[in-house]
Symmetry: C2
Subunit: 308 residues, 2 copies
């Protein structure tokens, strides 16, 4: 089943302890689409400027990524410049130029409207909501957000949350959104805002999947933890979370039914795609990845966690 993603497409300049790369492909929608495209046909909604490499658009189309919802606007593509510290969990934004993304208004092609799965990447919640409302009949809607929207646009974000089935955020965001320090309590509070499932990403420690407990259980048995792969070298952490989301949601969209088992496998595929994304600058590793490599790493994640 095809899946629609709406979000940013960017050209990033990144400095990490492993080096520097200029104008590499980035943006949440691009990482997500590349990761998800290994599992399901992807339909992108976004905007690029006149400076965005046309060869890249051609390459994406060849991967069964539909770009008819990606506007090619006059002006500059969204550009982000950032620097990661020795501890790659910490980064500084050195420069941000929204370019054509500043005026981005998602336009959903008519042909996208039969998609059963929608992913609302981290953008202005007002736009997330607009896309959500334009697709009332979808089977599953997942979304991401960030501290900026939680802090300064909470009312708009809360409206989005009401329409989400699955929210993917990190520890800090979950605690901030719920105003609770304890992760389990924070997860419960966030799910009370709308999403029936919540994935909290723990960076190098993996991710936890929570489900809203049915009324007659304590819900504890519903939780699932996927590890991250202990990596000796992280070249560029950018996009790890979006690649996780792409692997997770792409796998779910590839399955005939959404079951507890498909959720668990999706968590592993998410971790697998996140672990690849950070091995090279920008989206390079995802672009050169093979399905065999994905399967081999999935097996490695199983070995890493399973008793037998």
């Amino acid at each position: 089943m095809s899946l629609v993603v709406v979000g940013s497409v960017a050209l990033d300049t990144v400095e990490t302890p492993k080096g520097r790369a200029d104008d590499v492909l980035g943006g949440a929608a691009l990482y997500f689409s590349l990761a998800a495209s290994f599992f399901a046909p992807v339909r992108m909604v976004g905007v690029v400027g006149a400076d965005f490499p046309r060869a890249t658009l051609d390459e994406l189309r060849k991967r069964d990524i539909d770009l008819s919802g990606v506007e090619e606007a006059p002006g500059k593509t969204f550009r982000w410049t950032g620097r990661y510290h020795e501890d790659v969990n910490v980064r500084d934004t050195l420069h941000l130029d929204l370019g054509v993304f500043a005026e981005f208004r998602p336009k959903l092609p008519e042909a996208y409207r039969d998609s059963a799965y929608v992913f609302l990447a981290n953008i202005d919640p007002v736009l997330q909501r607009r896309v959500r409302e334009a697709m009332p009949g979808v089977k599953l809607v997942a979304g991401d957000t960030m501290n900026y929207w939680i802090k300064d646009h909470k009312a708009a974000l809360l409206e989005v949350l009401k329409g989400l089935d699955i929210l993917l955020i990190n520890d800090t965001e979950a605690r901030m959104l719920a105003a609770k320090d304890n992760l389990v309590q924070a997860a419960r509070a966030v799910m009370a805002m709308g999403p029936s499932s919540l994935i909290v990403k723990h960076g190098e420690y993996g991710a936890t999947l929570f489900h809203k407990a049915p009324a007659n259980t304590d819900g504890a048995e519903k939780t699932f933890r996927a590890p991250a792969l202990p990596l000796e070298e992280v070249v560029d952490p950018t996009g790890a979370g979006d690649s996780f989301a792409g692997g997770f949601f792409g796998y779910l969209a590839s399955q005939p039914d959404v079951t507890p088992a498909s959720y668990r496998n999706a968590m592993f595929y998410g971790s697998v795609m996140g672990s690849f994304a950070v091995e090279r600058f920008g989206t390079e590793r995802l672009q050169m990845l093979s399905r065999d490599e994905i399967d081999a790493r999935f097996a490695l994640f199983r070995e890493l966690t399973h008793l037998d």
Copy 2:
């Protein structure tokens, strides 16, 4: 097979967001012994003062914990007073009185010397080494340490590490000991100091087991990650790491052979015992625990992590 543990026995006064408890049982050797005693006979080496409740000593003896190596000295038992923050990963030591522990010189009863397993809890590395050297024929030696010894007694600690098979420390300690930010690189550097296996504890995110890679492999397949249980309420985090060590090493000592599978199961039992320890103040939860509860939680950990 019986296992020897040497370390502190304490009376703790603890404040956490959940309340306050005065003079509750504590100390690394006590948490470790209680946790390990569910799996194997334990032989303690330590010291208590005249103020230590005799009824507790009687209770420990009933649990197949041999106290013939625990000296009852005139003076006061080691006392620690601490306060945990809202974020229970952060704590302040408010008061510390070493009491009889200041002059502690481990005395190994003759009857202990046939033990095949020794755990050197977090104490002065000079004492750890002395115990290690007194038991040259043991099958497996594990140990713990802390930032204080890494920072100010590194030479003595390095001598201890040479004699360890397994070291259990947390992320911060691993990175400090190795002077490396990346966890995998830090783990490799620490294992080069002696231990062939290293367990790095990640608090609420679980723990990772690394093994020194045999010369002809890349070693990646040897790593294992056990989760922590997402807990809604942490009453008192004190002793979680020592309880993990007790569950881990107690289980290993209970097995006829040390195999990759027994290591993996031991990691789960460690996580199980750590998850119980924090549910009540001091060692109370471990004292009231049943083997059935341990087995049920082990099953929960499996559900939490396994694909099917």
